[in-house]
């Protein structure tokens, strides 16, 4: 159980004051995440990629998908007391437009219809439009907070939003902590917490220690990926901590360089996809915390591959070996590594530094692929160096994770990756056929027929085995038993139901 006495003053203040202390690997101001506590957006999306209104009570889309009308909530106040209305929403969108390439490109006009109605007209169809609006790129900001005031080209100075907590510059200590206080005039009703304390803890091990020594209430919430080692979760649970996990639909995958041997051959790609026992990996190395990925991206996404056979890449090393044999890769000199035309099956796996679990995965891959006669050379590089290598096509395999809105071209993630105009993934799988399919699917405003088109697209893509899906990246949040009502969701920082119980931790 939880041991130790609680002489810490922070504990005392927490129990009387009800301040939720969360550990974060980044300083409050440099992390995007922290801003979600302060700012809100017009719309939000759930995990599967369905959008709904937020500060816009509801919205309408025209049939051609080019005109969006937002009906704004009334009675929403900014932290400085000013009203949120169509005018400020317009400025906010203009500000976002200045900071987001896609919005800048596609948005033609933003009009204030009345106090609470806003119309946005796009010049070209932008499938990711709502997605962008729901992301941190398009927060609703207060006009007065811009410098010079009201100028969307200006600099955002304070942190004045409409969220449940407000940021007070005076409490902020660079690289140490930031305190967010309850906003009493919050439109959704004041939070049950008195505040949130954002504490900088650099090291993942230290974070777990901090939780166990009751210096923070919650860890793992503030990072893009979980920083809590999976092996520690069981232990934390056994000690009585709540561990909230959820799949966000991010899959870690190995991307193949399909423009050069050996991965220009679909058989080789397929063989590798069959050769790795992902179930075993997840069960052992990841303590069964997460799920092995069976298809390229999460099937439960709105636009996900829900019609693709689950067993498409089922682990079968014999089949894998046979496919390699058929592809002409045989071990002719008996050194355990296959070769073809004098070239050995040695593959360069590029790992961008900081990619979660990459060390574990690459060691496992090495040992699995060795069994079918392929040798992996791991090269861990600082992420921008790795990215440069990727752009130059200087790799065979590249480990990375998909974004959580995977199926939207022009946005982020996988749908875009295989589109031939993409400069970032110039060496991924591309074909004219696929381009045509993507074009057809994403210019289709009609939802049903779009889904059909997308299903054929997924079937085609899986047959091509453009990448090796590994496992579903988990979002992990561990908290004190004192914290109740927290759920991992699309908005990690939704604190509306969170309470801090009065509880003596030194039981």
């Amino acid at each position: 159980g939880l041991s130790g006495k609680n002489s810490n003053e922070s504990v005392a203040s927490a129990s009387s004051q009800k301040i939720l202390r969360i550990a974060a690997a980044f300083d409050f101001k440099s992390a995007m995440e922290g801003k979600t506590l302060v700012y809100e957006n017009l719309v939000k999306s759930d995990m599967a990629g369905n959008f709904s209104g937020w500060l816009a009570e509801k919205y309408d889309v025209s049939d051609d998908g080019l005109t969006y009308t937002f009906h704004l909530k009334k009675g929403v106040k900014f932290h400085d007391g000013s009203e949120f209305n169509a005018e400020t929403a317009k400025i906010s969108l203009e500000y976002a437009q200045n900071n987001d390439a896609n919005l800048k490109k596609s948005v033609n006009s933003i009009e204030v219809i009345d106090e609470s109605t806003l119309k946005v007209v796009l010049g070209t169809y932008l499938a990711s439009f709502l997605n962008t609006l729901s992301s941190t790129s398009a927060p609703m900001i207060c006009a007065a907070d811009l410098e010079p005031a009201g100028d969307p080209k200006g600099k955002l100075s304070g942190y004045i939003g409409t969220g449940a907590f407000y940021f007070d510059e005076a409490t902020y200590e660079k690289g140490v902590k930031a305190e967010l206080t309850r906003f009493d005039d919050y439109w959704g009703g004041a939070s049950k917490l008195d505040g949130v304390e954002w504490l900088y803890v650099a090291d993942p091990t230290a974070m777990v220690v901090a939780l166990e020594s009751d210096e923070v209430d919650m860890i793992g919430i503030a990072e893009h990926h979980s920083s809590i080692p999976y092996v520690q979760i069981a232990e934390l649970k056994s000690k009585g901590y709540t561990v909230e996990t959820d799949e966000t639909g991010r899959y870690q995958v190995i991307e193949y360089n399909c423009s050069k041997a050996p991965f220009d051959d679909v058989n080789v790609r397929m063989a590798l996809n069959l050769a790795v026992d992902r179930e075993l990996m997840v069960k052992t190395l990841f303590e069964d915390m997460t799920k092995a990925s069976k298809v390229i991206t999460a099937p439960w996404f709105v636009l996900g591959p829900d019609k693709v056979d689950e067993n498409y890449y089922k682990f079968d090393q014999n089949r894998a070996k046979k496919m390699l044999d058929d592809a002409g890769w045989i071990d002719s000199d008996g050194d355990g590594i296959r070769d073809k035309n004098g070239e050995k099956l040695e593959l360069k796996l590029v790992v961008p530094q900081g990619e979660a679990n990459a060390d574990t995965v690459s060691v496992y891959l090495q040992s699995e692929l060795q069994k079918i006669g392929a040798k992996i050379d791991v090269l861990t590089l600082e992420s921008s160096a790795a990215s440069d290598m990727k752009k130059a096509g200087d790799y065979n395999m590249y480990i990375h994770h998909s974004g959580n809105m995977p199926s939207i071209p022009g946005g982020i993630g996988i749908g875009d990756k295989y589109y031939s105009t993409n400069k970032d993934w110039a060496y991924s799988f591309h074909s004219a056929e696929l381009d045509g399919m993507i074009d057809a699917a994403f210019t289709e405003p009609n939802t049903d027929s779009r889904n059909n088109k997308i299903d054929t697209l997924w079937t085609y893509l899986h047959a091509q085995a453009p990448c090796m899906p590994l496992y579903s990246v988990l979002k992990l949040v561990a908290c004190n038993p004192r914290v109740t009502g927290y759920k991992v969701g699309s908005n990690m920082f939704d604190m509306s139901n969170v309470r801090l119980l009065d509880m003596d931790m030194s039981k």
């Binding site: 041991s3 130790g4 006495k5 609680n6 810490n8 550990a23 980044f26 300083d27 101001k29 440099s30 992390a31 995007m32 200045n98 900071n99 987001d100 390439a101 896609n102 800048k104 490109k105 992301s135 941190t136 600099k155 200590e173 660079k174 690289g175 140490v176 902590k177 504490l199 900088y200 803890v201 650099a202 090291d203 091990t205 230290a206 220690v209 901090a210 166990e212 020594s213 009751d214 210096e215 893009h224 990926h225 530094q353 600082e382 992420s383 921008s384 160096a385 990215s387 440069d388 290598m389 990375h400 974004g403 982020i412 993630g413 875009d416 400069k423 970032d424």
Partner: protein, 312 residues
Amino acid sequence: MEKMIFRRLFLGIFIMIIASLLSFVLLYLAPGNPAENILRQRTGEDPSYEEIELFLQQKDLDVPLLTQTSEWLYMALRFDFGESINTSEPVMDEFITRFKATLQLTLITLAFSIPLAFFIGVRSAANNGGTFDHVSRFFTLLAMSIPEFWLGLMLMIVFSKTLNWLPSFGYGSYLNLIMPVATLVVGYTATLSRVIRSSMLENLSQDFITTAKGNGLSQHVILIKYALRNSLGPIVTAIGSQFGHLLAGVVVVETVFSWPGIGKFLIDAVYLRDFPVIQGFVLLIAMMFVVINLITDILYTYIDPRIRYERR
């Protein structure tokens, strides 16, 4: 003397400029750009081409690096190091905040290390070959052999997790200082006490020690006024260089204990390719080194009259 200081300061400016130009060259040769790294850190996704370009444009980074640097240098000469690309804060502000934290850690570490090291070093030199010397030799060598990161983690496990006595992270209260300081003190005391011991021993075998004994001076006076006094030169140099290295950042300790110091911040900046921060920090750190070296040299001349007069 003034001439020496003047000359050294002149050289110092030269060194600072070269050091920051060197960092520029290294960055220039390095792959990656700030936009990509910073955007990736913010969103956790690989940014697209368009996003990167927009970011570069916004931050005025779409001009050639050479122009950027010459502009930077021009501004730097007026002590304006620009803004961090990542945080949009003035580099000088960032530096001062981090420097305060680092300086605090450094000074307190040295405040413990130096007296302790003097105690151990002088006693073991005086007791050369005796029990104290053996025991202290064993422990100082052992202390030098413990990796900082390992010690730090162990302290944290014991004092934060198991005993729940000390905070495992944070900055501000004296409680926060205990473990990082302890981690650093172990290694620094050991190293310094070895320096003190060996330079004491060197002097203790000199003829003037025999003279002092021949004059019937007491052990205490001989040890302090004769041996230690003459050993101070190398000791001050050692302290100076340790001070410099501590100031330049103890990345490991800063990482383990989430200490908001220069080192970790600079490393992060390197990863983000936050050019103004890197160049500014390198220049300021180089300046610290120059100043510290100058101070040790000046102290040295006060300690050692031989140098004082040779410099005339």
